[in-house]
Amino acid sequence: MARDAGVRVTVCTLAWCLIALTLVEARPIRGRTPADIERRRAEIVDRLAAIDLELSAAADRLTGIPARMADAEGDARAALEKEQRSLLARRGALLDEQATLQTEQAELALVRTRTATGPLQPTDPQGLSPLDLGAQTGQVSSGQSFNPAISVIPDIAYYNDDVAGEAFDVVEEADGFGADHHDGDSGGHGHGALERGFNLREMELAFSGAVDPYFDVWATLAVGEDGLEAEEVYVQTRKFLPGVQLRVGRFFSGVGHINKQHPHQWDFVDQALPMQALFGGTLVDTGLQVTWLPSLPLYTLFGLEALQGDNERLSHDASDVHPDLFQEAPGPRLFTGFLKVSPDIGFAHALQGGVSFGRSRRHQEVVEGVDGAIDESLEGETWFLGTDWVWRYDSARPLGRGDLTVQGEYLYRKKDLAVGPGPGPMPPGTPVVSAQDGLYAQAVYGIASRWTLAGRVDVIGLTNRVETGGIVSEYERTRRYTAALTFNPTEFSRVRVQYENGRAWNDGRSVPFQQVFVQFQMSLGVHGAHRF
């Protein structure tokens, strides 16, 4: 009932508003179109001008009459008196008309017509004319000049392998590492699997700029097969404290060296294996990062991160997918720290070493059987430790000729999990502890101006041990050798040919594979410079 009454009141109010509006709109116009009003305004102006002329002429004649009357006698004097009377009457009528017209003019000035943009034409839409505001209504504006730096980076690849297109899966499911499971999206940013043939691997859209004197924003969106994805979107302080930068948002973790690089900064088409196997690609997460560069003669950068923990291979909350098996693990779940040190060894050389550490206080994963059914649920803690080294030599020869970069990283990850509730055979509480690692080493050499040749060795599973309830399973190593030849016509474009030869172990069986890539990468627009 109350609701009906409410509706009625609303309807009545609306009706009254409409009627009132119509009245207000109609009043000054009184059935006349704006064109009529324009016409009437012009008539008034003309008539008022004529009245002014006539009034001043009458005034002149009236002023002359008294002098002429003094000289005149009899009939002439009577004629002058008559003229004076008629002039005064005419003057009164003119003044009355003037007053009436002025009132009408003032009324019409309130009516919206097109006077601001010139006289109304018969073809102009009626009733849509702006009110005359008496001066320029334009805006002094910088238009689009506040646009951020925008760049578009298409990444197109031709791909083939000799294992029926399965090379990516072969590595992904390498013994010991394949124990991880893939419910829903991959937690890491796996710029991974390509189809045999042509692939638009992704298109990066990067925006960056200063928000105000205090913050910069960087947004990198990746348009891939799965649609638009926020690869990195973060806010960074500009002048928080000398040497201190805060970063909030979704970003590539600063651990290691290669992890914070976007695919267009890589020296190869694909990501290094240790990151692929232990982080599922790149460790990218939402959270807070603090870095501190103290004012020392030696480059020393400290970094700490508190991350939500959205990485299936390291720190993951599976409770939304499997509410029957897990309880929600509130974030932030993953905490990392890193230190980079770089001595100054002259203009030609640069050396940087780093250590990284990370710990996830809660990690949940499920183990699936061959048929895809869930065998076990696992929950516990994980941590990792890594070190990264980069040496670069700048030869001073034209366009990169003779330049050499050597870099390597080692990453060790331990998962301390225990069996939770589930349909599996193992009693809840059974410890499942896995220890795995990986390393890569790579060198890039400028064989000619604009041409580089790069080689890389990847090994994962130097340690590859899973201990389930006291029973230790050891798995084999997976190796991969990569060579890449890159031509950079300018610093904005790149064509790369890459060959890989590897051997992975799947279910105790050795699977050799070869991969070939041809990659086209372009950087269109304004893209900020990259850090070391």
Binding site: R238, K239, P242, G243, V244, Q245, T291, L293, P294, S295, L296, P297, L298, Y299, L301, K340, S342, P343, D344, I345, F347, A348, A350, Q352, R392, D394, A396, R397, P398, L399, G400, S449, R450, T490, E491, F492, G528, A529, H530, R531, F532
Partner: protein, 296 residues
């Protein structure tokens, strides 16, 4: 914990230079020369880019960030010459004092009028600089203007030595003015010059010598056979000189020199790391001599 923090402060206090001099970081050795010439003993100068490297293509090394982190003033060439590395180094240094727009940021290009402004911002035309040609450091008159502006900035950062900075900049300007006519006389009648890159355009304009061409078909693109052939075709039976820098490859200039019978001269475009104003003047001498060499 408190001990650690206390130790850190002691360490930082020890490492902070006690001298009240202005710590200047210069992007290139030409800018370092200006800072040294104008700043005198009141400044300490660190250079980021060595003179034998192409300042278009450098890497933002961590040691650049160390220098910028401790800097009071950054002196850059500007006009996007260092766009590939300096913004990254500034960002990595997280030193609020030297951000563009602050008192600690000085860009020479912002103090003078540039030539070749307003080109289409279209990268199919090569590595173009729509804001103007940034290689003004071979123009002594423009460098003198930059020196006077730098003196004003240093004076704002270190008011007690304001007059000394102004006096040194005026002396540098006077030294340039004293030589300018002699340089122009020396180059008068020089038939023209072919540069490798557009980095010689300012000195050619200063001397009034025509630029007959560039070895690069487009800025930043290495010489191609067809472009070199075109140059030879166009310039044969004329006179001139080919000039290129220490970080440019020799093959193109030498080919042109052989085909045209011109002299090809390789010259450093940047002054040495420890250059002063006097070094810069003899550096310009060298260029003037090479440009006018074809006349004799």
């Amino acid at each position: 914990m408190t001990t650690v923090v206390a130790l850190m402060f002691v360490l930082m206090a020890m490492l902070t230079p006690a001298a009240a001099e202005v710590r200047v970081v210069a992007s290139t050795s030409s800018m370092a020369m200006l800072a040294r010439e104008v700043g005198g003993p009141q400044v300490s100068v660190t250079t980021l880019a060595p003179p034998d490297r192409d300042p278009h293509y450098l890497l933002a090394r961590p040691s650049m960030m160390v220098a910028l982190r401790r800097a009071d003033l950054l002196v850059a060439v500007g006009a996007e010459l260092e766009i590939g590395w300096l913004p990254a180094a500034i960002q990595g240094a997280s030193n609020p004092k030297i951000l563009p727009g602050q008192a600690g940021y000085f860009e020479g290009a912002a103090q003078i009028d540039l030539i070749e402004t307003g080109q289409t911002a279209d990268r199919s035309r090569g590595d173009v600089h729509p804001m103007g040609n940034p290689h003004y450091y071979l123009d002594p008159v423009r460098m003198a203007t930059v020196a006077r502006a730098l003196a004003a900035r240093l004076g704002a950062l270190d008011p007690p030595h304001k007059d000394a900075f102004a006096a040194r900049a005026a002396a540098f300007s006077a030294a340039v003015d004293a030589r300018a006519d002699q340089w122009r006389r020396q180059a008068a009648g020089a038939p023209g010059v072919v540069f490798y890159h557009k980095d010689g355009n300012y000195i050619a304009a200063f001397l009034g010598v025509p630029v007959l061409g560039w070895l690069e078909p487009l800025p930043g693109i290495p010489p191609t056979a067809s472009h070199l052939r075109d140059l030879v075709e166009r310039l044969k039976s004329t006179k001139g000189v080919v000039l290129y820098n220490s970080f440019h490859p020799k093959d193109g200039p030498e080919f042109l020199s052989r085909q045209l019978g011109w002299k090809a001269v390789q010259l450093p475009i940047e002054v040495p790391l420890d250059a002063t104003g006097a070094t810069y003047l003899s550096h310009i001498d060298q260029w003037v001599q090479a440009i006018s060499g074809a006349a004799s």
